[in-house]
Amino acid sequence: MRIKVNGMEEEISEKMMTLQELVINRGLSLKQVVVEVNLQIIPREQWPQITLQDKDSIEIISFVGGG
């Protein structure tokens, strides 16, 4: 299936992948990111239960320095 992560289209070979796995596969620490799927904020507790669907658009966001 094809999904979009942070604006970039990607092909995912796994049949089933949870949001939690997606974040872990990217080497990101679960505690420091916020995730939106199709513009909906997904609370961290739900990540293991959310299975990615074809054409999902995912944003993985974190805090950075700023004024």
Binding site: L28, S29, V33, L39, I41, S62, V64, G65, G66, G67
Partner: protein, 259 residues
């Protein structure tokens, strides 16, 4: 000096120098600067993360007790600013939001109309909202009326270090608006910050000038002292300025008298 703290959203703010966290050479340097300035309020931004990004969370470097305001930088419309604010809150970053809606890439000047729209929405949603704006009395009044915690006019374009170029307009806002006025952006020197405080600004927000200094820690201290000096002068009442000299020693009893 008797206690003189600013209270916003139920939080007591003793240090009227707000310090942004952008452009520092490291998170450790950023933390040392916040500590040196004794900052009570700081700002961070939200961005997309690259895979394999550093496991460092900037929030872990912010001294405890320092309130974090999330800025909506990167937003070009009210809707985008609202989206960023909601994401920040979902991430556990609290509900203090600096609204920054910018549709101009060259001068990074804020879009006041979109800023007003975002302020209205976010106040309704229970955020403590700090709109960054181009100084304009009518817009400032509307922002305050719809519940902005403070109004943050720019002194000069972001990161320009040019000082308080908007002085006349900011002065009018201070006179006319009851919400705290916090000058944000463009302050380059401690004397710029002092000037703002002498006029009666409630606080100033500084980032670039400190972060790019050769010695950010001492520069932050200098800013902090300037802010305190300006505040103290404002509370004391500024001395009247006149065109002609007024002697400071008595005009009688000169040695030549009677010669």
């Amino acid at each position: 000096m008797k206690e003189d703290s600013l209270e916003i959203g139920g939080v007591k703010i003793n240090c009227r120098l707000f310090v942004g966290t952008g452009k520092f050479s490291s998170n450790t340097m950023m933390r040392d600067v916040l500590l040196a300035a004794k900052a009570d309020v700081t700002t961070v931004a939200l961005r997309r993360v690259d895979s394999g990004a550093k496991a460092d969370n900037i929030l872990d470097y912010i001294p405890s007790g320092c309130k974090v305001m999330i800025n909506t930088s990167g937003a070009r419309t009210a809707d985008e600013a609202v989206r960023i604010a909601r994401l920040a809150r979902a991430a556990g970053a609290g509900n203090w939001i600096k609204i920054e809606v910018i549709a101009d890439n060259r001068y990074l000047l804020p879009d006041n109309l979109e800023t007003l729209k975002a302020t209205e929405t976010l106040v309704q949603e229970g955020f403590v909202v700090f709109p960054y704006m181009s100084p304009d009395l009518a817009v400032a009044r509307r922002l305050a009326e719809c519940g902005a915690a403070a109004v943050m006019p720019l002194g000069a374009p972001i990161g320009s270090n040019r000082g308080l170029k908007t002085k006349e307009l900011v002065a009018i806002m201070i006179k006319e608006i009851r919400a705290p006025i916090i000058v944000d952006a463009g302050l380059g020197k401690p004397s710029d910050a002092c000037e703002c405080m002498e006029m009666g600004c409630a606080a100033v927000l500084v980032n670039t000038a400190i972060a790019v200094s050769r010695n950010p820690i001492d520069y932050a201290r200098a800013f902090s002292q300037a802010v305190q000096a300006g505040r103290l002068a404002y509370l004391s009442g500024l001395a009247e300025s006149v065109d002609e000299a007024r002697a400071s020693s008595p005009l009688t009893g000169f040695l030549r008298d009677g010669d």
